[in-house]
Symmetry: C2
Subunit: 585 residues, 2 copies
């Protein structure tokens, strides 16, 4: 051992002990004949003191230390004259009698401080230096702690962690697979799993009963901001359970995690909100319920008064922003611009302020009498000083989604999205299918193994779009942290699903044959759920990006700029794999 | 929930309870008017009873149940008349009043019994059925338990588990990489990690201090028996430590695991045996020390008596098999054939029996006087009834390895390799370099970041082959379960290593530039170790093959026969990746 104690360990009770410390030089200060060095390691910072009067040569040596040098010192612990309350070791300092430089350091390209001067790109290139910053390391520590808690919680509940393979077969449904050429079997490829979905279902067929895995997943998708080509799931599956069992089990786990990680207690059961209700009240299948501002539908109040936009609309709805009547014209114009951006796509926005005297002043006063506006106000339960914002459109669902964006934007501006407040709920009763504009066909909302709600099975043929799934998402602060479903365990029902999804028997067999075959040998009823670990850690840590809780993340082009990967192969590697690169055209 | 209890849960204290069970039909027996069904789940087997007198229809339904049907039953717990001591639930049975078939099953292709009639290939194809066998499931349970214990042990020691990426860069040194074409960056490839070696060293530079990860690793090697293209390591690294610290930490973990998993206590510290001693005493860098049969060198005793084979040899050595003088001529011939197989390559074997009267009868009596043979016997400390087996050769190390094979073979035959006995040791002081016949150059025995023993650094230029590494392996029962080294943290020493290994500066920079750059910014002294998890679980479980403790293993051609992977891609997938397959020539 190069040390007797870490840099975060010594206290006033250690005074007069002889100690050896090792770590990085955070900074040095020369004050008169004294040199002070802040020595840093993972556990904290300790102050070292070199005194010219005691040892000139040693003090000179200390004066030559640069930032981020790795050193080892021996010395005696003394009480500090000027105590530092911000440091756990702030009551003491070490009077150094021996100094060894273990490694020198070039000047780092940015400062190793919480408030660094380094931009994103340079910090990613030198991620090993970025990780020295305590604010970044804290995220990894929180991630570690969460993962320990998850594992022990599930272990106590009888779940077995089972590693499923990373080199599997390609199933070109859903997102794009990353593939791996096989040298031993020329012309063939493995694929990396998008999730262990089918493998965990096989484990249920195998009688594992309760499975989990903290599993690496891979999707070769065009990267959007804050999406990683490889990410981590807490992947779970249970046999002989129904939807309520899953919800109770994983609600218990969520409450446990919030308690141990953030000391937050949830006393009540989480709300279970049907998907259609979530859409109607919040325009989202992952409503942020840290604040209210629920949608109010206004078709019966606002339609038919000669305002063409509303008169032609199939949906009119709004939100009431409490106390926001002070919004200036400029702020309101900015909101209008926001909803009119192509990503959102609204045609415009109507607003109305509730005045001090209770009357309503709106942007459409010339179409509506005060009487109509007052009855609108009453529908919101709005008070003087409130601001009402209204959108309309021909497609109710699309307009609701636009209104959702507006709601979140306004909530951001009003400071209602507090990172230290947590609001969780379950969204249930998702539609089993959704229409894909791109593919011009029905697609499984989750995946083709999701069980329909038994009540709705009779509608599978005539009105598949109306069939509800036994699927559920756990939502935290407007973010889906996890989701899953009851699975189909009946081969005949599974065949029916493939049929509705337009799979030929051959294609179903080619892609999912191994699973369908397995189901012929006694599949138990089963259901499961997967959490996005990166996302969940980032919520717990109060981070904006999942990148900040990943040790070595990739950038938005899928590159690891530190490792400089991906990169061209050597020709001999391509030859061995029997591959040619297509010439660029 | 489909059940109130599992099939392994009910006891005599539950008599008269109304219960609901669910599981698989293990077997049905009709005896007179009664039908008995063994219902199985992960937790055990419970006996169900259907009585014709009580309910004819229900009993008929039960008689139609096939093996592996999934059923749910309601009934009342009763004390059994004929108790079954082999079952934890053997005191009770359930008198069934309600039966629901949840899934039917086709006849499984092999019996779901510990003693199955299924061969290896069919069990791998239907692995989900193979896993239903309790002997196979027990391996996965043991693996889960070991991993839980490892994680909690390391967590308590302050280690942080950090996920390192799976999509990294290719470093064509060591084994072959599996690669992943990048669609977003055409013409470039990611590689899958052979181990997180360089990434964990970066984490030490990052100040993580104590890291571990249960990490998937990938090697595209020609598969030998019992080698998997993907395997799992318990990967660990510590900063500010030396070799003794690592050995103490991980010896503690090994002892803890053996205690909790197998209830084995190791009272003494593990032996730390220098590599050269292990080679001389056992002909192996992973000696099996469950039994003795140490090598005895005989050059001074046997050379120079006119027996050409020995007279020309540079090494003569043997082992003494206690009580094996009863070996017949046929058995001895078989041993001779064994050592002469090309994989071993000995030219022949000399044997000598110690007779009841203490005299020696050998296969080379015509060259040696009884006096010489007796002094040979004394060197072994052999007793009447013992069998001495001797090999010789021109290359001492090669001959020792042959003698090692013979020692293990004889020990197998004598039943000395007891799977329930565990003998652990550390092999230390490995040579830093080894000569590669294939590449005709010095290669790093472990990897190029291994630190030389400081005492031997002066020999790096003139006698690199004599330089010992600060490297160590943990060996259990003749198998390397883990190994590691102190790493070089000094850039200059690292440059020297690359120089000795024949790397040009450019090549070193191209392959390990990111690590060498990182080391410029203050690398702490660090050291680490990695365990092969699959191997270690298989030892703990008393298995012959690592395959048996992997949920979905690949076969010896690297194929997953259940998933039928790897497989050809669809043309559009190849196009998107900008790849062409080379036509077969």
């Amino acid at each position: 051992m190069y040390r007797t104690h870490t840099c975060g360990e010594l206290r006033i009770s250690d005074v007069d002990k002889k100690v050896t410390l090792a770590g990085w030089v955070q900074r040095t200060r020369k004050m008169g004949g004294m040199t002070f060095v802040d020595l840093r390691d993972r556990y904290g910072i300790s102050q070292l003191v070199f005194n010219e009067e005691d040892n000139v040569a040693l003090c000179e040596q200390a004066n030559k230390l640069g930032r981020e040098f790795v050193i080892q010192v021996k010395g005696v612990v003394k009480e500090r004259f000027n105590k530092n309350e911000n440091l756990s070791t702030g009551d003491i300092e070490i009077i150094v009698s021996e100094l060894t430089v273990l490694s020198v350091s070039a000047t780092p390209p940015f400062t190793i401080e919480d408030n660094t001067d380094g931009g994103d790109d340079i910090r990613m290139k030198y991620r090993y230096l970025d990780l020295r910053r305590s604010c970044v390391r804290a995220n990894l520590e929180l991630r570690h702690r969460m993962v320990v808690e998850v594992r022990n919680y599930l272990d106590k509940q009888g779940f077995m962690e089972i590693e499923t393979p990373i080199l599997i077969g390609s199933t070109p449904e859903g997102a794009r697979d990353f593939v791996v050429p096989s040298r031993m079997n020329p012309g063939t490829f493995y694929a990396l799993p998008q999730s262990p979905q089918t493998l965990k279902q096989l484990l249920m067929v195998a009688g594992v009963d309760r499975y989990f895995q903290i599993a690496k997943c891979f999707r070769d998708e065009d990267l959007r901001a804050d999406r990683q080509p490889e990410f981590t799931q807490i992947d779970c599956e249970m046999s002989f359970v129904d939807q309520d069992d899953i919800i109770e089990t994983f609600e218990g786990m969520a409450k446990h995690l919030f308690k141990v990680i953030r000391n937050v207690d949830f006393e009540k059961p989480f709300i279970r909100m049907p998907w259609i209700e979530a859409m109607k009240r919040f325009g989202s299948d992952k409503p942020d319920m840290r604040f209210e501002m629920e949608f109010v539908e206004l078709m019966d109040v606002m339609k038919g008064y000669g305002f063409g936009v509303f008169d032609e609309a199939n949906y009119i709805g709004g939100i009431c922003a409490e106390g926001a009547a002070t919004y200036t014209r400029k702020q309101l114009d900015a909101l209008t611009d926001f909803v009119k951006r192509p990503q959102i796509g609204a045609k415009g926005m109507v607003y109305a302020r509730v005045q001090e005297d209770g009357s309503v002043k709106s942007s459409v006063d010339k179409f509506y009498s005060q009487e109509v506006l007052l009855s609108m106000k009453d529908k919101f339960g709005a008070k003087p000083g409130d601001l009402i914002l209204i959108l309309s459109g021909s497609d109710a669902m699309k307009t609701r989604k636009q209104l959702c964006e507006l709601r979140l934007k306004v909530a951001d501006e009003l400071g209602l999205r507090d990172k230290n407040k947590f609001s969780l709920l379950w969204v249930i009763d998702f539609p089993l299918f959704e229409w894909s504009e791109e593919e011009q066909r029905l697609m499984a909302t989750h995946h083709p193994f999701t069980a329909p709600n038994p009540e709705d099975i009779p509608m599978l043929d005539e009105h598949p779009e109306k069939v509800r799934a036994l699927a559920y998402d756990m939502v935290c602060n407007g973010i889906e942290v996890g989701g899953g479903s009851v699975r189909i365990h009946d081969s005949k029902l599974q065949d029916k699903m493939f049929d509705v999804l337009g799979f030929t028997e051959e294609r179903a067999q080619a892609q999912f044959g191994f699973l369908m075959n397995a189901f012929k040998y006694g599949a138990p009823p089963h259901a499961g759920l997967a959490y996005g670990l990166d996302r969940w850690v980032s919520i717990m840590a109060g981070l904006d990006s999942i990148r900040d809780c990943i040790a070595f993340p990739k950038n938005n082009s899928g590159r690891d700029v530190m490792l400089d990967a991906p990169a061209p192969l050597e020709q001999c590697q391509l030859d061995e794999l029997n591959l040619l690169l297509k010439k660029e055209e």
